[in-house]
């Protein structure tokens, strides 16, 4: 057990360093390339004023958004998978992101484009979706695949509502294609601040509830037999997962697949225990999304590809592979 702990610490430190390196590249590379020295000089207001502006209004908010969005969506995916006991569950697939997107669209329809109301309505949209999915899976006793299919249907419905509002209300035209596929070119600190408060709160709470999340996966009766009020905690975890996904969507748009791919590969490396899974998901998710955004930015320079497109290209085949693999299953799985 001691050996496992040392291995995990090594793995976690390595991931943190990798994440820091990717974040540095994300800050330095782009249409204008900075050396690390130029970045430091600009931050201390000793270089070109233009450099400071680029860093302050473009690179830093964008990198921060990628790091936070990646961490939030990956952890949200891992939590949803554990609570719904379904490895295919992720905020992008079961409609949680679409619910948040609908919340943001409604907010924009009322003329509010950023700030607390956008983050709150994104959270409420995603919360409503997880509650519907959880009632659907709990009450109907539907199979894991049926829950996913139900989520996919809900996803389409919510996207259709958002599209209708966009078409009927010209004020919502600000929600460009980038919001619908997910991307960070229009991110700003104004959009980030309220969402980051939600994300940090949810992550801190989740990181104190590792054992509760694991005990919940034992099933309601076994969880209750060791003193965990299962229903209450299930609702709490769904709220926290919705808070993470909703907050991320409020500034990143409808980014799909990251909440599926990252937890899945982290589970392969570190196992399913939440005390290891969630922190590693947060770090690798942050690094992965930042790296994807960097690639999407640099791939067709001077044009920028919204990172959501790249995520879909990677995530689509990964989802199909996971679906086929799950069909094999394990003992009584």
């Amino acid at each position: 057990m001691q050996n496992n702990t040392s291995n995990f610490r090594l793995l976690f430190t390595g991931s943190l360093l990798l994440c820091a390196a990717v974040a540095c590249f994300s800050i330095c590379l782009g249409a204008v390339t900075f050396s690390p020295c130029e970045v430091i000089l600009a931050l201390f207001q000793k270089g070109e004023p233009m450099n400071l502006n680029i860093l302050k209004y473009a690179r830093l908010p964008r990198t921060t958004a990628c790091l936070m969005g990646g961490a939030a969506l990956s952890v949200s995916g891992a939590v949803l998978q554990n609570v719904l006991a379904n490895k295919l569950a992720s905020p992008g697939i079961i409609g949680v992101n679409a619910g948040a997107g609908l919340g943001v669209t409604i907010c924009c329809a009322f003329g509010v484009m950023y700030g607390w109301p956008v983050s709150v309505s994104a959270f409420l949209g995603s919360l409503a979706t997880v509650i519907i999915i959880s009632i659907f899976s709990g009450r109907t006793g539907a199979s894991k695949t049926t829950v996913i299919l139900g989520g996919v249907a809900l996803n389409s419905m919510l996207n259709a509502f958002s599209e209708s509002i966009t078409v009927l209300n010209p004020d919502v035209a600000v929600l460009t294609t980038e919001f619908r596929v997910g991307g960070f070119s229009a991110v700003s600190m104004q959009k980030l601040l309220p969402a980051s408060a939600f994300i940090f709160t949810a992550l801190i709470l989740l990181f104190t509830l590792f054992n509760e999340l694991d005990v919940l996966t034992l099933g309601d009766e076994s969880a209750q037999s060791v003193g965990l009020p299962a229903k209450r905690y299930r609702v709490l975890f769904l709220i926290l997962a919705a808070l993470l996904a909703g907050s991320a969507v409020s500034f990143s748009g409808l980014l799909g697949f990251i909440g599926l791919i990252v937890p899945h590969f982290v589970r392969k490396i570190t196992g399913n225990e939440s005390r290891r899974l969630l922190p590693l998901c947060a770090v690798t998710g942050a690094a992965f999304l930042t790296l994807c955004d960097l690639i999407a930015r640099l791939l067709f320079m001077p044009y920028e590809l919204p990172v959501g497109i790249l995520m879909a290209v990677i995530g689509g085949p990964a989802f199909v592979w996971l679906l086929l693999k799950m069909k094999g299953g394990h003992r009584n799985g």
């Binding site: 590792f210 009766e221 003193g227």
Partner: protein, 252 residues
């Protein structure tokens, strides 16, 4: 000690248990038998606090369980349920979660929790499987992991619903010895068993349930002599005196 007075409980508006009176004493194995659907599992769930009682009272070691917090209730009574999930965690970690009721700030298991979990694993003979994922274990071994988790809870009362399911005959006998040892250490053991011969051989006291009521509670010998088993199941169970004690068999 478990004392139940005038208990009624059920699911939603449907009442399954009616006016149950029941006592399970310290240091004794009490087994509940009865036909499928008579309310055995519902009774265990209600005693463990998983299912709320709609009337009457349940006392564990003299304490009313209704006013207790879930963790305090879990410290008093461990419950092994009949239907179980297969979590994607290692056997060792799962057994450690038997110590969940004792978790306090900063929500980390302490040395004595690990020691209790290791002792439970050793008792069930599964120490070598600590790092194995539960999902990769056979049904019988998984059952042993669940039993070890209940043992790790170190509660004075142990409630087990069909604990011998999935266990082969050798493992059933070993389980019988473990349960006798637990009772010998002063614990109150309440079991639900379908294997009548095993129940008669193992138990100090048998409760017969019919249609949500306990119709008889007595020693195995008196239960056997009363003819209630024949009335209930339509089969005859006979006892044979041997140097190793009473042996029971079905008369065909």
């Amino acid at each position: 000690m478990v004392e139940i007075r005038n208990l009624s409980a059920g699911y939603g508006k449907e009442e399954i248990l009616h006016e149950i009176h029941f006592t399970a004493k310290n240091g004794r194995i009490t087994t509940i038998i009865g036909k499928n659907g008579c309310g055995k599992s519902t009774l265990l769930k209600t005693i463990s606090g998983i299912l709320p009682a709609s009337g009457g009272e349940i006392l564990i070691n003299g304490k009313q369980i209704t006013g207790l917090t879930p963790t305090n209730r879990a410290k008093l009574a461990a419950y092994l349920s009949q239907g179980k999930n297969t979590p994607d965690i290692t056997a060792g970690r799962m057994i450690l979660h038997g110590r969940f009721p004792y978790l306090s700030y900063p929500r980390k298991y302490k040395k004595y929790d690990y020691e209790a979990a290791e002792a439970a694993m050793a008792k069930m003979g599964i120490s070598a499987l600590s790092d194995k994922p539960v999902a990769e274990l056979s049904g019988g071994t998984r059952q042993k992991v669940y039993i070890a988790m209940a043992l790790a809870q170190c509660s004075p009362v142990i409630l087990m619903d069909e604990p011998t399911s999935y266990l082969d005959i050798g493992q059933q006998m070993k389980f019988g010895r473990i349960v006798k040892e637990l009772a010998g250490n002063g614990k109150t053991v309440v079991l639900v068993l379908h294997d009548l011969l095993f129940a008669l051989k193992l138990s100090d006291c048998i409760c017969v349930m019919e249609n949500g009521k306990i119709t008889m509670q007595d020693s195995p010998e008196r239960i056997l002599n009363s003819g209630i088993i024949k009335t209930l199941y339509g089969i005859e169970v006979k006892a044979l005196d041997t140097p190793e004690g009473k042996q029971y068999y079905y008369e065909m």
